[in-house]
Every structure is written in C-alpha cells, then in structure tokens.
C-alpha cells in the first residue's frame, strides 16, 4: 500500500505532464483556426489574438474535464466564436459611445493589411450580411479548406444541415458579390 502512496505523486505528475504536452500539441495545431474564427468576426488582428488567447486560457482551465479530446477543436471553435461575438458587441458599444463624442472620425479600423484590398473588403461585407447560422459554416469551410464533414464535426451539426446552410450561404454570397463586383460577372 505504501508503495502505491509513494508512487502516487509521480503518477499524478506524469498525468499532468501528459495533459500539458497534449494541450501544447493542440495549441500549436489549433492556434490558426482559433485566430481565424475570431478574425472573421472582429476584423482586427489585435482583438482577434486577444480573443483567441482568452479562448485557449478557458480551454486550458477546463481541459482536464474534457472527456473527448477529439472534440477539442470543435469546442474551441464554438468557444472562440462566442467570445468573439461578445467582444464585437462590446466594441460596437464603445464605438457608438466614441462616435457620440467625435462624429468625424471613422468608426471602422481598416488599417489591417487583410482589409487593404477592395476585393477583400467587399467579401467581408458580403459575409457580414449573412445571418449567423449561415456565416459560421461558410467561414469554417473557407478556413483551412474544411469540407462538409469537418464543418459538421466542428459545429456539432448533421452533415445535411451543414450542406444546406453552406448552399444558402454561397448563393447569398454570389448574389451580393455580383452587385459588389460587377466586373467579375462579365468575365
């Protein structure tokens, strides 16, 4: 018995080390995914990194209680998406308050290189026009080339539901971009 008690701290330490190494591996694998999900909502690199970092901290706090490690990415995506939406609402409230004090300043920061081109700005406008149920599947399908099955796994939805949502989202995007980019329709 004493032998097991003496060995207990070592075994616990081994489990903790194993969990830390597993989290480290998932952090490296999923950092771009979390950042892109946050960026698709916030459009600002600093805010997106802050939100993705917050999501990883929350994920690490609850990592030991996560039974299915395979669903970590799906869990992280949903957590990041919710945190990004919360940050976006807070930013909008702050921007509206600032706009009351200083109306001549632009309320949207377009200094990020990703938004520099006019084409990207138009695509973002079309994405923003989508309802939330269509936006996240479209963003996830555009990030890292996820297919329908992977998007369904990330969102915890049936593949048929994701397929129909992606179809509707793409149709709306095409309709929006047809008016936004008339030059591309004539080619």
């Amino acid at each position: 018995m004493q032998e097991y008690i003496d060995r207990l701290p070592d075994s616990l330490r081994a489990v903790a080390d194993e969990l830390d190494s597993e989290f480290e591996r998932l952090l490296v694998e999923s950092s771009s995914l979390a950042f892109r999900v946050a960026f698709s909502v916030l459009r600002q690199r600093e805010d997106a990194e802050d939100v993705a970092q917050e999501a990883f901290i929350k994920a690490h706090r609850n990592f030991r209680r996560l039974r299915e490690r395979a669903s970590f990415r799906a869990w992280l995506v949903r957590l990041t998406w919710r945190l990004a939406l919360d940050r976006q609402r807070a930013n909008r409230r702050r921007v509206s308050r600032d706009a009351e004090h200083n109306r001549h300043r632009p309320t949207i920061d377009n200094s990020d290189p990703a938004l520099a081109s006019e084409r990207s700005a138009l695509v973002w406008q079309a994405i923003d026009a989508l309802p939330e149920t269509l936006r996240l599947p479209l963003v996830l399908s555009g990030i890292e080339g996820h297919d329908v099955r992977e998007v369904a796994s990330l969102l915890g939805l049936p593949e048929g539901t994701v397929k129909s949502r992606l179809f509707k989202a793409r149709e709306k995007m095409k309709e929006s971009l047809k008016w936004m980019m008339p030059s591309s329709t004539g080619r």
Binding site: F23, E24, L27, V28, S31, S32, F35, R36, F39, S40, R45, A48, E49, A52, Q53, F56, I57, H60, R61, A114, R119, S120, V123, W124, I127, L138, V139, S141, G142, I143, G145, R170, M173, K174, L177, K178, M181, S184, T185
Partner: protein
C-alpha cells in the same frame, strides 16, 4: 460569379494568420493563469462586490436615529431610558390607551370598564338587608378564628343558644290510587 471564383475569394479573404509570437503569448498567458489560485479568480471579485454593496447600502440609507449618547449613568444607556424601581414609584403612572372613544359622557358610560382594569374589580356579593347583619357577624367571627378548625373548636365557638324546630306531624299514607286522573 461562379463557385470557383467564390472559393478563391473566400480563401484569399480568410487566409489571415496570427503573428509569429502568438503561440508564445498564449503559452505565457496560460502559464500565468495556472499560477493564479483557482479560488482567487472568483473570491476576490466576490468580496469586492460584497463590499461595494455594503457601502452602497450604508451611503444611500443613513441611520435616521440620533447618535448614541455617551452618558453612562445608571438608568441611561444608548438612548434607552431605564427607570429604576424607586424612580418608577415616584413617577406618575401613564394611563393606558383607552380603546373606547374619549368623547363620551362619563356618567352615561360609567358601567363600561377598561379591559385592563377588569381584573381589578372586587368580587361583590349582594345580601338582602335582613341577612346582612348576620353574615357580617359570621364573617367577622370566621376571620378571627384559628385556621385549624377541629370539631371541638367549632363546638366551643358555636354561639347558637337554641334551635327551634318545626313540629313533626306523622300522618297516615295517602291512597294514590285516588289521584289517577291527576297524573294521566
């Protein structure tokens, strides 16, 4: 716009990458979060919220009572007037609140007694004037008698000199059969 063009536009738009030091920043933040005890994450804000709440209540609802007196003489403490028995005896008693309206004719409502004074009423027995003197003598003699009322004492103190009995007449029994009509 066809599907291929839309895919290219989406890929170009969404292919943003975090800064190279992003992973390192996350590692540092996670390590800093681990060093903080888990209880302090909610205990410190909870204590702060509780203190703010107590202060807000104290500031918005000041105590309307006057400040407690510093006079520590016997019978006077923290604004409460404690009356000692000697002082209470010399002080006139406060009249109890009368549930009956004050504006009334005292002569007309003399029979109405206050409920609190109901217990103070003496027990009253009404005798006929002819028996009053006899009862008065009886009670006065009983009051002066010793408490142990033995048979001898009662016999000695019996002041009745003579007892007059009515004459006893013994008659033959009547025949009740003659009274049938009366009970039927």
């Amino acid at each position: 716009m066809d599907d291929a063009e839309l895919d290219r536009a989406l890929k170009a738009t969404l292919s943003v990458s975090p800064s190279p030091e992003f992973v390192a920043k996350v590692r540092t933040a996670v390590a800093a979060d681990v060093s903080v005890p888990s209880m302090s994450r909610w205990l410190v804000p909870a204590v702060a919220v509780a203190l703010v709440g107590v202060l807000a209540i104290a500031l918005t609802n000041p105590d309307p009572r006057p400040a407690p007196q510093t006079d520590m003489r016997p019978g006077r403490f923290a604004g409460v007037d404690i009356v000692l028995p000697s002082a209470a005896a010399s002080r006139p008693k406060a009249r109890p609140i009368d549930p009956v309206p004050v504006a009334r004719n005292p002569a007309r409502h003399a029979h109405i007694r206050h409920p609190a004074r109901r217990d103070e009423r003496a027990f009253e027995v009404i005798f006929s004037p002819s028996d009053a003197e006899a009862y008065r003598r009886l009670f006065s003699s009983v009051g002066s008698m010793p408490y142990e009322l033995s048979g001898e004492v009662i016999a000695e103190d019996n002041a009745i000199a003579a007892i007059d009995f009515a004459p006893i007449v013994i008659e033959p029994q009547r025949d009740f059969s003659l009274d049938k009509g009366v009970f039927q």
